[in-house]
Structure formats: structure tokens, C-alpha cells
Assembly symmetry: C2
Homo-oligomer: 325 residues x 2
């Protein structure tokens, strides 16, 4: 990763809790929260064997930068998180009871209707309470599924640089993300049936929902960076409220095809049963079709093509329509 | 996956909340918790395109079965979760402030010492409160990091089949898991520095800590299944409290070497930057050494070899030493 890129990530996303330049004493801290019992016998041998050197280009979670390269890197990195989370959820059966209000007697009820919440709704609400307290939803690239119920902060708030038009704050299509997830995604990634792993399934659901929400709402940054690159092209369409015209500008089919191919390849590679001895993994079409995978690459690619990218573009469109307000 | 295996997973791990055979109305449930707004335009096109068919052999999370094949499948599946979680954490810098008591003003203090908790301790405690309420730690293959502080259940308890010797319940080496994580693992998987992603880093830490804890404590099932396969070999050693003798029986170097090679391959494959067009991924030694990866495969393999497997064997030893009590 370039210094610039890392920097972008840095600036960005104190997201669930940056505190700027408070003094830090890492060594002390680590020791304090560590070994209260002896470490394994191999400790002496292991220590010092590997230095902390990393190859590759890790990308911070979506930065609040509008640099097009950084936006692109962040989107690509989010694909990995989404596919990892899909594979994690797919190890369990569908477990419909998790999604059925009243099937599992959670202590959560809708104030207006009196209906008992489903287990996944209960755990998602609890999770948002916990993450909300530590500032998750004060970050402009995080969006709650129950924004009306967020708790008070237990940490002092962070000021984020305002890179987006103020209208961005009001855009939250998590109802649609939820619909996408439960109607389209879940039935395609899990085998039908009930294996009793209700809590584990719900926790995987929540990780995946949060990853999808972040990817989809990142459309705000995509849109702003596209707008900044050529305001004169967008301005007349925005003034005319020409949704089709804007959507047309936002759509670059060759790029979308590349994303879908890359996602297919990722699902194929990450979903493989890796052995201790193996030579190569082939990404040729016919080999992918033959390969055993924990998820079906073509289906994950299709979900991206038919749902995730369109919802991302919907966020872009909603953002741009009010860009001149 | 064989029917038997899926079955094992099913029996097992209602772990954070199986409820047995309560009546379920999945369709109703799904609709209730879904779309409150229209889905994307592509809905009509997408719907019905992909049937819910899965290839491959998804393995449920560690079953409570003692069948050796199922134990092995569960251990292999846990490797994937651990490596995914390592890759997720490695996208952020080290962020030492997260681990330093007082560096981030979380509202959590040690009752005895008066010390403020570190951010990661605070969030881990909060997470265990939430997961504890929904029965996570009533499952015999889950182990809390703060078992003395678990909350009351908000759901009726589940009775698990007792496959292990009662002594198993008292074995919890999460203090050592924590030490392994903060002293050995974190410094090797993250670049030094501070990118401000404190909350995100802590959430990744917790996912990874939980995955490591599950893998390491699964030694209880490994030990019981080995014991069941040849009690006559173990009994005299157990009676003599012959730790070295037991450890010798538990250690099959050829198997351990295979695990380490497989983990190396997984870290290599899952850590790759996958492109939209690529032919094959090579797992030959010299290619792995050249490849750019989000984590260093040899390092992850070494962590497995030097730390994760030894701690797992320590659990096995502790379990077996009291197998005849």
C-alpha cells in the first residue's frame, strides 16, 4: 500500500473510535492486558523467529478520502470482507427460526404492534446499541439498521472532515439492504434446513449485513468523487432531475463486468477446500464449474451484479439528485 | 458433506441458541422482517435466476460429536475462520491505543485496582455480556474470556448431551489465548502504526480471539475421541500422571506437519489479491515466497505450529489428566 493510501485510511476511519493524538504507551498497555499465566513451552523458541514484516497492500476500511484510487481500493477490499462473511454464514443451514418473530422467545417486542422480535432482529438491535455507544454510527460511512434507536455515546464524539454534501447524512437504504439479504442472498448461500445453530447464524448474518451496508452506502463517496471529477457534466442533469441521464453517466458497463468477474474469482478461490498438498488453483471457467466450493462463485457474482451494485448505484443517484441543494 | 456429518453439526451446536423442535413458519417470518421499501429494479430479473443449490461440503461449527472424522472436519473448518479473521484484522495498523488502559476513555474500571480498562477489554466484556445472555457460554464448546462476569440468560437454557468428562467444564485457558494473541499474533499480522481505526480493530480482535479460543478448547473433544479409541493405552499413563507420556501419545508429527502445510496454503490462497482476469494460483514453495499476500503464509503457519497447536494439546493434556477422576 502506498503511503498516500494508508494515510487516507488513517484520516478516514477512526470510524468506531479515533481519538487523534492522545499519548500512547503501547508496551505498557500490551503487558497489562496480557499473559496472566505462563505461555506455552515453545515460547522461547517461537519468540523472535518471525519479524513483523508484511507483504502485500492492506487497505484500510473505506477512507473518507475522495481520491478515486482510494475509493476503488476500498471497494475492492470490501469485496473480500463480504465474501469471507458469505462463506462463514454458509457453513450453517438456513435456520428459518432465527428470522421468525416469536419462534425464539427473545425479550424484545415492537412497541407499536406488540409483536415479539425475531432472534436476528433482537441481536442486531443489541449489537447496534453496543457499537453505537462506542461511536460506530458517528462515522459518515457507517449506517445503522435501526437509526431511530441509537444510544447515547459513552466516548466523546469525533469530528469528521466534511467531504460530502450535507444531504448525504439523510441517505440510509438499510431497509433495502435487509430485504436484499433476507429475500435474495440468504436463500442462495445457505442450504435449507435447521441445524440448531441459531445464535451463530445470527451473528454471521449481522457481520454480513454490516459489510453489505458499508459497501452499498459507500456509493456516497463514489458519487462525490465522480461529481468532483466533472461537475459540468452532472450539473445540468441534476438541475433537470434527470434520473435516467444521471444513472447513465454512473454506469460504466466494462467496469461493472470486471467487478463481477473479480467477485466470481474471489468466491471461487476463498471458497475452496484447501489441502496440505496441492499445486495450483485454476480460475478457468470450466474448472470453476467443476470445482467444489463452499459457495457457488457464479451465484455470488450474480448477487453482486443484480443486487449489490444496483443498490450502490441507487445510493449514488440519491446523493447526486440533491448535490446542488 | 455426509448426512452424518451435517447431523453431527446439528446435534452439536445449538451453541448460541438451539431450541429443538419449536414450530416454525419461515415464510411468514421472512416477510415480516423484510422489505419495507421496494427492491431494486432488477428484482424481477434476478428473482428465480439461481436456485439454492450448494456444491461443496460445508461443515457445521464444531459438533459435539466424538466421531473422529467430524472432529477433524470441524478443526479444518475452524482454520478457515481463523485465517479469514487474521486477514480482516491485518487490514488495519497495530493501533496500540486500543490495548492500553486509559488511552481511550471507556466507561469501564477494574473494581479492585481502579484501573481503567483498555478499549478492547471493554468491548470484549460488553460482547460477552450480550452473547452470554443468549446462551453462548452454555454451549460446552464455547469459553468466555471473563467467565466470572457472565450475565443471566434471557432465553431458557438448553440441555446439551454430556459427551465429555465433567472435569472438562473447569478447563478454560483463555488467559493464555489472550496472551498468545496480544504478544505473539497481533504484532506479526499487523503493521506497526496508528490509523485511528480503533473500534474496527477491536471488533476484528474479538472475532479472532473467539475463533482461536474455540479452536484451542476443541482439544477437549479431540482428547475424548482419542481416549475413546484406545482407553487401555491411556489409562496407565493417566493413573501415573505421566504428562510426558500422554503428550507423546497425543503427538503425531506427520499429522501436525500436514496441518501446518494446509494452514500455510490457506493463508496464501485467502490472502491473495484476486483479479478479474487470472489463470491459476500456484502453491509451489517458490511461488508462495514471491507472491504478494495480505498476510505472510509462512508466519501464519508458524503461529499455528508454535502456538495454536501446542495450546490445543495443552487442553487435551489437562483434560486427559483428570479423565479417570
Amino acid at each position: 500500500m502506498s503511503a498516500a493510501c494508508r494515510n487516507g485510511a488513517a484520516r478516514s476511519c477512526a470510524r468506531i473510535g479515533g481519538l487523534g493524538s492522545a499519548t500512547s504507551h503501547p508496551a505498557a498497555s500490551c503487558r497489562r492486558w496480557q499473559a496472566r499465566r505462563a505461555s506455552p513451552r515453545e515460547a522461547g523458541v517461537a519468540r523472535g523467529r518471525c519479524a513483523a514484516v508484511l507483504k502485500g497492500n492492506p487497505v484500510g476500511s473505506p477512507s473518507l478520502s475522495l481520491d478515486l484510487d482510494k475509493v476503488r481500493d476500498a471497494l475492492i477490499r470490501m469485496e473480500d470482507s463480504i465474501i469471507f462473511a458469505i462463506i462463514e454464514r454458509s457453513q450453517f443451514l438456513r435456520n428459518d427460526k432465527v428470522y421468525e418473530p416469536g419462534a425464539i422467545p427473545v425479550p424484545g417486542y415492537n412497541l407499536k404492534t406488540g409483536d415479539q422480535q425475531s432472534m436476528v432482529e433482537y441481536i442486531l438491535r443489541q449489537t447496534e446499541q453496543m457499537h453505537g455507544m462506542i461511536r460506530r454510527y458517528t462515522s459518515p460511512d457507517e449506517h445503522a439498521f435501526f437509526p431511530e434507536d441509537l444510544p447515547s455515546l459513552v466516548l466523546p464524539p469525533i469530528e469528521y472532515p466534511s467531504l460530502l454534501h450535507p444531504h448525504a447524512e439523510g441517505i440510509n437504504i438499510n431497509d433495502q439492504v435487509r430485504a436484499l439479504y433476507f429475500e435474495e442472498l440468504l436463500p442462495r448461500i445457505c442450504e435449507e434446513g435447521d441445524d440448531g445453530n441459531y445464535g451463530s447464524s445470527a451473528l454471521c448474518d449481522i457481520t454480513l449485513l454490516q459489510a453489505l451496508s458499508k459497501r452499498i452506502h459507500y456509493g456516497k463517496y463514489v458519487a462525490e468523487s465522480k461529481y468532483k471529477a466533472s461537475p459540468d457534466t452532472y450539473d445540468p442533469l441534476i438541475r433537470a432531475k434527470d434520473e435516467a441521464g444521471i444513472m447513465n453517466l454512473l454506469t460504466v458497463e466494462s467496469v461493472e463486468r470486471r467487478v463481477v468477474r473479480r467477485v466470481r474469482n474471489k468466491a471461487c478461490v476463498f471458497g475452496q477446500d484447501i489441502q496440505d498438498v496441492m499445486g495450483t488453483i485454476s480460475l478457468a471457467q470450466e474448472d470453476i464449474e467443476q470445482a467444489e466450493s463452499k459457495v457457488e462463485p457464479e451465484k455470488v457474482a450474480k448477487l453482486y451484479n443484480d443486487w449489490i451494485m444496483p443498490l450502490n448505484k441507487q445510493v449514488q443517484l440519491e446523493y447526486l439528485l440533491h448535490r446542488l441543494d
